[in-house]
C-alpha cells in the first residue's frame, strides 16, 4: 500500500491489557491503514533481582527467584538449583531428579489450565472473563478449576504450597514427600488426564483466524523425554549446544521502551520463539503416544505456525504433563535421601528448564565461600518479545480496516496467544493505537 501522508493518524489506546500476568503496554501507530510503528512496552516496575542476589548465599536463589513470578515459581526454583549445582559440580541422584520433574509437571498443569480456561478461552467464546463464562457455562468452568487443582495439589504435595513452595533446596528437597500422599494423587491425575484430553478436543474446535508466523523455534531437548526440567539448547535453525554455551548463542539487548531485554540468536537476524509452539515443533516425537494420538485426532500439524493454535498445543502439553506425572508416580521409589550435599566451590554455573512459557535460563557466579558474586536470569517472555512485536505488526497491517474498538479487542487476543508473563520479564500490557 502506498504511503498516503494526507491520511489522518489514528491513536488507539487500551490502557491496560487484561488477562496477562504483569503490567505492560502495546502501542500502535497507524497512518491510514498503514502501520508506522508498533511496540510492546513493558512497564512492570523493575525489581532488580539480579542485583539483589549479589552478596546473598548460594542456597538462597531457589526461594528468592521464585518471587519473580507467582505463576511459575517452580520453574525459577528448578533453574536456580540446576545452575548452582552446575557451578558446584554436583549431580543429584536420579530419583531426586524424577521427583523434581514430577513437581514441575504439576506447575505445567496448573499454569496451562489457568491460561487456557481463565485467561484465553473467554476470548474465543466471547466473554470478558471466566467469571462471566461461568454464568452461562458453570460446569465448564468447574471442570477447568478441577483440572487446575490437579496441578496445584501435585505441587503442594511435594512443595508444601503451590505458590512459592518451601520444600525445594539445592541438592534436592528439605524433606521427602509422604509416599501415601503421592499415591493418593493418582486417581486425581487420571481424571485430569481425561479432562485434559477433552480440553484438547474442545479448544481444537474454536474458530481461529488464519495467521502464520516464521520465527526460529528454540527449546530444550533431551533424547527420549519431552523437554521439561532439563536438556540441551536446540533450535529450528540447527543450534544444538549445552546450556553452558547459551551466552554465546542467545544475545540480549535493552530497548528504551521496556524494562525487559530483547533476545535473538547469534548469526540469525529474525526473532526467536520459545514456549509450547517451539517445544511441540522440536520435540513432538518425544510426546507420549496418548498426547501424540490426540494431536493427530484433532488434526494438529507436526509444526504449528498459527499462534492462535497455541491454546491447542498448551492443552496437548497438559495431557503430556498428566501422563508423565502418572508414569513417574508408577515407577516411584522412595529416594535414599532427601538431598545430596552441595558444598560451595568457586565457579560459574548455568541452569535451564522449560517454564510453562518457555526456556528459563539462570547463570550464577559463586565464590569459594558460597556467596553469589554475579547473577543473570533470562525469562521466556523476554526471549519472545520481538517475535510478538513482529507478529502484531503483520496482524495490525492485515486488520487496520477495523474500527478502534474492534482492533483493540483483536489485538489483545493476539497478545494473549503468547501467554506473556510480564512479571517474569520484569517485566502487563496497556495497549495504545495511534492512528495518523
Amino acid at each position: 500500500m502506498s504511503h498516503r501522508s494526507a491520511d489522518p493518524i489514528r491513536d488507539l489506546s487500551v490502557e491496560a491489557l487484561a488477562r496477562v500476568e504483569g503490567e505492560g503496554a502495546m502501542r500502535v501507530r497507524l497512518r491510514g491503514e498503514e502501520v508506522e510503528d508498533i511496540a510492546l512496552s513493558i512497564y512492570e516496575p523493575p525489581r532488580f533481582f539480579e542485583g539483589m542476589l549479589v552478596g546473598r548465599r548460594m542456597e538462597e536463589p531457589p526461594d528468592i527467584t521464585a518471587r519473580i513470578c507467582g505463576i511459575c515459581p517452580v520453574a525459577y526454583q528448578m533453574s536456580a538449583c540446576r545452575a548452582i549445582e552446575d557451578a558446584c559440580g554436583v549431580a543429584i541422584d536420579p530419583p531426586l531428579r524424577e521427583l523434581r520433574r514430577l513437581m514441575y509437571c504439576g506447575e505445567w498443569i496448573e499454569s496451562h489450565a489457568l491460561h487456557i480456561y481463565l485467561l484465553h478461552a473467554p476470548d474465543f467464546l466471547g466473554y470478558h472473563s471466566a467469571l462471566e463464562l461461568s454464568r452461562d457455562h458453570k460446569e465448564l468452568v468447574q471442570q477447568a478449576l478441577a483440572l487446575r487443582r490437579a496441578g496445584t495439589d501435585l505441587v503442594t504435595a511435594i512443595g508444601g504450597r503451590a505458590t512459592h513452595p518451601v520444600n525445594v533446596r539445592l541438592g534436592g528437597f528439605h524433606r521427602l514427600p509422604d509416599r501415601d500422599a503421592l499415591a493418593a494423587l493418582r486417581p486425581q491425575l487420571e481424571r485430569a488426564r481425561d479432562q485434559a484430553a477433552e480440553t484438547v478436543r474442545l479448544v481444537a474446535g474454536f474458530t481461529m483466524p488464519d495467521l502464520a508466523i516464521d520465527h526460529a523455534f528454540v527449546s530444550l531437548a533431551e533424547p527420549g523425554r519431552y523437554p521439561i526440567d532439563a536438556g540441551r539448547l536446540v533450535s529450528s535453525t540447527g543450534l544444538d549446544v549445552p546450556v553452558q554455551e547459551f551466552e554465546e548463542h542467545l544475545i540480549e539487548e535493552q530497548v528504551a521502551r521496556s524494562t525487559a531485554f530483547h533476545a535473538r540468536l547469534a548469526g540469525h537476524d529474525g526473532a526467536i520463539l520459545v514456549g509450547p509452539l517451539a517445544r511441540y515443533a522440536l520435540a513432538r516425537d518425544e510426546l507420549s503416544p496418548t498426547a501424540r494420538e490426540l494431536a493427530d485426532e484433532v488434526g494438529l500439524p507436526p509444526v504449528v505456525t498459527n499462534p492462535y493454535q497455541s491454546i491447542v498445543v498448551r492443552a496437548i502439553e497438559v495431557v503430556e504433563a498428566c501422563v508423565e506425572a502418572l508414569a513417574i508416580l508408577e515407577a516411584y521409589e522412595q529416594p535414599d535421601r532427601a538431598h545430596v550435599p552441595v558444598p560451595p566451590r568457586a565457579g560459574i554455573g548455568y541452569g535451564a528448564t522449560e517454564a510453562p512459557r518457555g526456556i528459563l535460563l539462570h547463570r550464577y557466579e559463586i565464590d569459594a565461600d558460597g556467596l553469589i558474586t554475579a547473577a543473570r536470569i533470562v525469562p521466556p517472555t523476554a526471549q519472545n518479545q520481538r517475535a510478538v512485536e513482529d507478529d502484531l505488526y503483520d496482524f495490525v497491517a492485515a486488520h487496520a480496516h477495523l474500527d478502534d474498538e474492534g482492533l483493540r479487542w483483536q489485538l489483545e487476543q493476539a497478545i494473549r496467544n503468547y501467554d506473556p508473563c510480564i512479571s517474569c520479564a520484569t517485566h502487563f500490557l496497556d495497549l495504545t493505537v495511534e492512528r495518523r
Partner: protein
C-alpha cells in the same frame, strides 16, 4: 432484584502476581463470591473493567515508581475500604532490599542503560502512602485469610486474622521444634501465623515470609541465634532481610547487626 452488589477491585503494583493468584485460587469460593459481589476490576482475571467508586479494593504489590505513587492515591480516593495483601503491599516485598543499598548501583548491575528507568529510592508498603484499613501479611498471602477478610466486610464485622506467631501454629500441629531438636535457625517465634507452620513441617526453619508478628521480641530471638546457634552478624542480617526486609521490626533489628562499612 435491583439490589446493588458491593464492587470489588483488585490492583497490582510491584509484585509477582502471586497474591492475586491466591484470589483466583479461591476457585469455587470465588464463583460464589462473584454472585454476591460485583468483581468490577480484576485485570488478571477479566478484561471487563468498571469505573469506581469501589466498596473494597485489594492491593497487591509495593510502591516503587513515581507513577505508582500517584496511582495508589487515586485508588485510595476511589475505594471505601482498602486491604493491602501480601508482603510487597504490607512491607515493601523482596524488592525492599534496595532500601538497604543504593538503587542506582542495583540498576547499573542489572541494566546497561539504567538512565532509561524511573524508580524511587525505596520500595515501600501501601501504608507508607495512604491510609489502609486492613493488612494481610504473607509471601504469598493465605487465600483463607483473603476470604475471611472479604466475608467479614460483607457481614459488617471485623475480620478474624490471627496475630500470634508461627511458633503457636507449630506447637498446635505437634511438630518437633526444628531449632531445639535440630539446631536449625528459625524465625517462627517472631513471624506472624498464617502458613500453618509450613517450613517446620518440611524440616526447615521458618524464613519469615509472613513477616513480623505484633507482640514478639525480635531482638531476643536474634540474640539466641547469634549466641546459642553461632550465626554471625552477616548471617543474621540475611535472615532478617528477605521478603519482609522492609517491615519495621525486621528492618530495625537487621540494622543493629549490619557491618559498619555502609
Amino acid at each position: 432484584m435491583a439490589i446493588t452488589r458491593p464492587a470489588l477491585a483488585v490492583w497490582k503494583f510491584a509484585s509477582c502476581d502471586g497474591c492475586q493468584l491466591q484470589v483466583l485460587s479461591l476457585e469455587e469460593q470465588l464463583l460464589t463470591l462473584a454472585e454476591v459481589v460485583d468483581v468490577a476490576y480484576f485485570l488478571e482475571a477479566s478484561s471487563a473493567t468498571a469505573r469506581g467508586p469501589y466498596d473494597v479494593s485489594l492491593v497487591e504489590g509495593s510502591i516503587t515508581t513515581p507513577e505508582d505513587e500517584e496511582r495508589i492515591h487515586e485508588i485510595r480516593a476511589a475505594s471505601r475500604t482498602l486491604i493491602a495483601i501480601g508482603a510487597c503491599a504490607t512491607a515493601g516485598g523482596i524488592q525492599a532490599l534496595r532500601n538497604f543499598a543504593a538503587v542506582d548501583e542495583l540498576a547499573e548491575a542489572v541494566y546497561p542503560h539504567p538512565e532509561q528507568l524511573a524508580v524511587l529510592e525505596e520500595s515501600t508498603p501501601v501504608s507508607a502512602h495512604v491510609e489502609v484499613e486492613y493488612e494481610l501479611q504473607g509471601c504469598p498471602v493465605d487465600r483463607h485469610q483473603v476470604l475471611e477478610a472479604l466475608s467479614a466486610l460483607l457481614q459488617g464485622r471485623r475480620p478474624n486474622i490471627p496475630s500470634h506467631s508461627v511458633c503457636v501454629e507449630c506447637k498446635r500441629r505437634g511438630l518437633v521444634c526444628v531449632m531445639v531438636a535440630h539446631g536449625e535457625p528459625c524465625l517462627g517465634p517472631v513471624t506472624n501465623a498464617g502458613c500453618g507452620a509450613l517450613c517446620p513441617s518440611f524440616h526447615r526453619g521458618c524464613y519469615g515470609c509472613f513477616g513480623p508478628a505484633e507482640t514478639t521480641n525480635t531482638g531476643s530471638l536474634v540474640a539466641w541465634l547469634r549466641h546459642e546457634q553461632g550465626l554471625g552478624p552477616a548471617e543474621v542480617v540475611r535472615w532478617l532481610r528477605t521478603y519482609n526486609a522492609g517491615a519495621r521490626r525486621f528492618a530495625e533489628e537487621s540494622r543493629r547487626h549490619e557491618p559498619s562499612q555502609r
